[in-house]
């Protein structure tokens, strides 16, 4: 594994992106378009990068972020959401959530109305933190180590401080499998 990150990253131009100020619906469409573009590849895109007016990456949206944005938000759900901080078991909190989801008030929440789809990505995107960047010249060995200790599914690849692509855990893992196979074959089949 003597390759470097930029050999494996997906370049920014090939990635699903949207702009600040765009809506949740537009972000979903961007993700869907990007998925179609890479339908033939092994690993589809699962996140949308949010760009500012200078095409700089300022945030990202995972499918989980999008689902969480669609979750019903009432004063009641806010109370339920913090119960785990107050010592209630996860089973208890899950059962209360289930009950509230099944109530008439918020029935069919997965089919959101226009209001939900018009939410601005700025309001629910995940802003970038210091530990999710990796330089494009980092070795793949080091990148694998970074994924392991940072516990992330993707890292933003930088070149001279600017984001130029995305390195996905799946791509690193594919390289790892290939390296294992090569090592195994070089040593010959076990007797």
């Amino acid at each position: 594994m003597n390759q470097i990150v930029k050999d494996f990253m997906v370049t920014l131009s090939d990635y699903a992106t949207t702009y600040r100020g765009s809506t949740l619906y537009e972000a979903v469409l961007a993700l869907e378009t990007a998925k179609k573009d890479v339908e033939l590849t092994v690993h589809p895109h699962w996140i949308v990068l949010v760009l500012d007016e200078n095409d700089e990456v300022v945030g990202k949206l995972s499918q989980l972020n999008l689902l969480m944005a669609l979750e019903p938000k009432t004063e009641y759900t806010a109370v339920v959401d913090r119960l785990d901080k107050f010592g209630f078991s996860s089973n208890f909190v899950a059962s209360i959530r289930e009950t509230s989801l099944n109530s008439e008030l918020i029935d069919n929440y997965l089919y959101p109305d226009n209001l939900a789809m018009e939410m601005k990505v700025d309001d629910f995107m995940k802003t970038l933190s210091e530990n999710e960047f990796i330089d494009e010249n980092t070795t793949l060995n080091s990148a694998a180590h970074q994924f392991s200790i940072r516990k992330r599914l993707s890292l933003l690849v930088t070149s001279e401080g600017k984001v130029v692509g995305v390195l996905r855990l799946a791509d690193v893992f594919s390289a790892l499998i290939a390296a294992m196979k090569k090592a195994h074959n070089d040593e010959g089949e076990p007797i």
């Binding site: 004063e75 109370v79 107050f86 010592g87 209630f88 209360i96």
Partner: protein
């Protein structure tokens, strides 16, 4: 800058440092406190034959504050607060914690250090098994009408009408009108109007007052003074207390049985009657109140046009207006129970009104005997999601959710814990005194001498009390 201003800045800085992880800045909340008010009032302390005596005050302001028992105050500002050390542990006592029976090696002391307490009640004893001899309040700000009850705290901000009960707290923000009884907590920001009672492994009770409705009763945001119906209610009766603090020898306003105690720093008006073994603590307000045998009315309580049949407990800061309570009703801390003259509130015997409950009704409301009540009740219909019979609650063995109330654990343990505590409160207050035995505060508090202490009247140390040590 004068010494008192330096002290103020120093305390705020220390609190903010402790709360930096929560991103909480106490400064805008306490900037509204007029320091010039803090130089106007004397401090006072009580001496009795029944309580240990040991006070040490150093570099502090104690305006309008009262002290009893054993207490140290260092580098602190205490404004119209009660530091009541009459339930502290004594050397040789045994403290039961979980499976441990821990011996107390010295007389317990309340230690207030680098803290600002505004109209706060400090009472009971430390329930922290790691600090049995020291009930500490350190680097903490507590706002108007809050209670620190058996709750050592360090680096905390306690909002208006909030209560920390039997809980050790480190670096926490307790929201306005929040009630916490949870053993030990750290680095938590408790929302306004939370009522949380937890005994790990046994039960967990949580209620959240609705935000908008709660703001009608209590609202305190950065940069403006506390507002709402609670503040108005207390402010409307503030003048009545002026005389009891101004006059040295005050006559007893109504007949008081020899087994009962009506504190000379309480206010009594109208046709009020006091039964045997009744305890009325200081800063309590009675107006046309009928108090049956063994009733106790604790600090900062208001009983107006109401009758309490007997052995009812009105915990610190509770308010009862136009209501009739059967016997053995427990009304928790800072509860606000208000009926109307033509539509009275009736609460049946042996009921438990949870701490920080608001019952404010225009139509008549009757709570049956043996009920558990919580939260915000503004109509009879609200009782459907805010009350349950104690018998039914005791049958809960896993979980229960009603409205904004969530309960997990064993209902019987919860009921038993409350009933045990109510019995202890009645015992401690002397409700069961039989003329010879079972004396409590109602009998022991009759013999208190009050002494006043004064700050520097002028100069750089204006408002600061000199170092004072008072021993037997």
């Amino acid at each position: 800058m004068k010494e008192i201003e330096k002290l103020f800045s120093r305390i705020v800085q220390r609190v903010n440092i402790n709360l930096r992880e929560l991103g909480f800045d106490a400064t805008p909340y306490i900037q509204i406190i007029p320091i010039n008010q803090m130089v106007k009032f004397y401090g006072f302390y009580g001496i009795t034959p029944h309580h240990p005596l040991n006070f040490k005050f150093k570099n502090s302001n104690l305006a309008g504050s009262y002290f009893l028992g054993r207490c140290q105050v260092n580098n602190s500002l205490l404004y119209k607060s009660d530091i009541r050390g009459d339930e502290l542990k004594k050397k040789g006592d045994l403290f039961q914690y979980s499976d441990y029976e821990i011996s107390v090696v010295d007389n317990e002391e309340i230690q207030v250090e680098d803290s600002l307490l505004i109209k706060t009640l400090v009472h009971n004893f430390s329930h922290d098994p790691e600090s049995l001899e020291r009930f500490f309040i350190k680097d903490t700000v507590s706002m108007n009408h809050s209670n620190i009850h058996g709750a050592p705290c360090e680096g905390c901000f306690i909002g208006v009408f909030a209560t920390a009960d039997l809980t050790t707290m480190h670096d926490c923000v307790i929201g306005n009108f929040a009630y916490i009884q949870a053993g030990e907590i750290s680095h938590l920001n408790i929302p306004h109007g939370t009522v949380w009672v937890r005994s790990p492994g046994e039960f967990n009770f949580y209620y959240q007052h609705p935000k908008d409705k709660l703001q009608e009763y209590v609202y305190f945001a950065a940069g403006s003074p506390p507002q709402g119906k609670f503040i108005d209610f207390v402010a409307d009766r503030k003048e009545a207390f002026q005389r009891v603090f101004d006059v040295v020898n005050i006559e007893q306003p109504v007949p008081v049985p020899s087994s009962a105690s009506l504190d000379r720093y309480s206010v009594t008006r109208g046709q009020t009657t006091i039964g045997e073994n009744v305890l009325v603590a200081q800063r309590a307000y009675l107006q046309n109140a009928s108090l049956g045998k063994g009733v106790n009315v604790q600090e900062n309580c208001f009983i107006i046009n109401s009758s309490l049949e007997g052995k009812d407990v009105t915990a610190h800061g509770a308010k009862i207006i136009e209501a009739d309570l059967g016997s053995m009703v427990f009304v928790g801390f800072n509860s606000f129970l208000r009926g109307r003259p033509d539509n009275r509130l009736t609460i049946g015997e042996n009921s438990i009104v949870m701490p920080h409950t608001i019952i404010d009704v225009n139509g008549a409301v009757t709570i049956p005997p043996g009920y558990l009540v919580w939260g915000l009740i503004q109509s009879e219909e609200d009782l459907e999601t805010n009350s349950i019979s104690i018998e039914d609650f005791a049958k809960v063995d896993t979980r229960l959710a009603m409205g904004n109330m969530f309960f997990e654990g064993n209902g019987a343990s919860f009921v038993e814990a409350f009933q045990h505590r109510i019995k202890h409160i009645l015992e401690a207050n002397g409700a069961f005194f039989n003329g010879a035995e079972k004396k409590g505060h109602a009998q022991k508090n009759q013999y208190i001498s009050f002494n006043t202490i004064q700050p520097y009247p002028e100069g750089n140390k204006k408002g600061i009390f000199p170092t004072i040590v008072i021993k037997p």
